[in-house]
Symmetry: C2
Subunit: 248 residues, 2 copies
Amino acid sequence: MTDKAETRLFVEQDLAAGQSLVLSEDHAHFLKNVLRLKEGDVVAFFNGRDGEWYGRVEAMGKRQATAVIDTQSRQQEAEADIWLVFAPIKRARIDFLIEKATELGASSLLPVMTRRTNVERMNLDRLQAHAVEAAEQSERLTVPLVHEPQSLDALMASWDSSRNLMLCDETGTAPPIAEALADAASGAWATLIGPEGGFAEDELDGLRKLPFVRPVSLGPRILRADTAAIVALAVLQALRGEGPRRRS
Amino acid sequence: MTDKAETRLFVEQDLAAGQSLVLSEDHAHFLKNVLRLKEGDVVAFFNGRDGEWYGRVEAMGKRQATAVIDTQSRQQEAEADIWLVFAPIKRARIDFLIEKATELGASSLLPVMTRRTNVERMNLDRLQAHAVEAAEQSERLTVPLVHEPQSLDALMASWDSSRNLMLCDETGTAPPIAEALADAASGAWATLIGPEGGFAEDELDGLRKLPFVRPVSLGPRILRADTAAIVALAVLQALRGEGPRRRS
C-alpha cells in the first residue's frame, strides 16, 4: 500500500493487519464531512501501543464508519518520560498549554492545586480531547493522559524521588535553565509551573527543600504560566538532544 | 518613593524626573475603570529608551489622566538582538505568537509572505498592541516593532549577512537545535518560521544556500508554526545563557 495517509486518528482498539475498526461518531463525521474522504481512502491509526498503521475506509454511513487495517507504517518507539505539573489557568490558555505540551512530547499532564490557584473547575474531558487532537497532528505515537487534579502537597508527598522536578523559579536565585540542566537532562523529569499569581513564599520554601526539586531560572523577563511551561519543556527536550524527524 | 508599582505602562514620551505625562485615553480608562487607581497611586512607565520610572497619577478625568514622573526604578539595558521572521498564520495563533515572542525577548517581528502563505491580511495595529501589552506584563524595557509584511525573497535579498538566520527545518536533514547552536548562540540572530503548510521545496533549497542560514531541527514531532517559533526563541535564549531576573 503506497498511498501516504494525510490523516492520523487516535483509537483505543488494538491495531494489527486485517483488523476491522468501528470508528467513533466523531471520527466518522470528521472523515466524511470535514475531510470528505471516500471508501478506499487511506487513514493512519495509532493507539499508543502498537505503532502506527495505515488502514482503508471500508464503509461510510451517516453516523458510522469502519476501516480495515492494512500495513504498519511506524513501529512503537520509546518516548521521553517528561511530566508537566501545572496549576490550572484560564480556559483559552489551558487549552493552548495542553496542545503545546503534547506537541513538545510531555508524557503526562498533572493539574495541581496550589495556594494561589484561583481556577477551580476544569473540564478534563475537553482537555483530554485537546491532547488527542494535538497528538494526531504532531505525529506522536502516544497521547499524554490528563490526570485528575490533586493538591500540590499530596503530589509531593507521593513523589518518586528518582524523577527530577524542575521548578520554574522567578525569584532570581535559581541558576539559568541551560546551566542547571547541562549534565542532567536525561532520565525521568517533570516540570512544575505555578499559577498566574506565582507560588506562595512558604510553598516555594517547601519545594526547594525536596531532594528531587531542581530550581531553574527562565530568564530576566516575567513569563506567563503557559509560556513558562512551553519554555521549560522546549529547553529540556533540546538539551536531551532529540533527533530530527524519522520520516519525511 | 517606596511604593512598588503594580502596573507598567509603555508610553512614547521622554521620561525624566519631574516630567508630566498626558496619558492616552486607553491608558486613562485602564487606570481608572479597570484598575480603579486613584490620584497619588504609583504606576511604572517605560518608553524603550529611558529605562523604567515610577510616576504618580496626578489627575484622573473621565477620558484623560496625567501623571508626574518621580524616580527611576530601572536603567535601560542592552537586550538580545533577536528577530522573529514569520509567515502570517490564523488570527488567534498570530496573536498568541506575538505575545509569546515578546515575552521571550524578540527585538523585531517581521511578517513575510512565502509561497504557501494563505493569510493575506493582517491588522498590524492590533499585533503591535499585543506586543505592547505583552511587554508591559513581562517587565521588558522595550517593545518589539511589528514590521510591514514583505516577501521572503525581498527580505533575503536585503539581509545583512552578519545576522544568523535560524531555519526551522522539518525535513529531517538538519542537526538538532542544541547541537547547531552550541558554539554560536551569541551575536545577532533571527529565527525563520514557515507557514502552516511549510516552505515549498525550492524555497527551502534557496534558503539553505544562503551563507547566513543555519538549518536546525526542533525534534521528531511535527510542531505547529506558532509552537516552532516559541521553541526556537526559547532554546536560543536559553543557550545564550540569559541570567535570572534582576529585581524580585
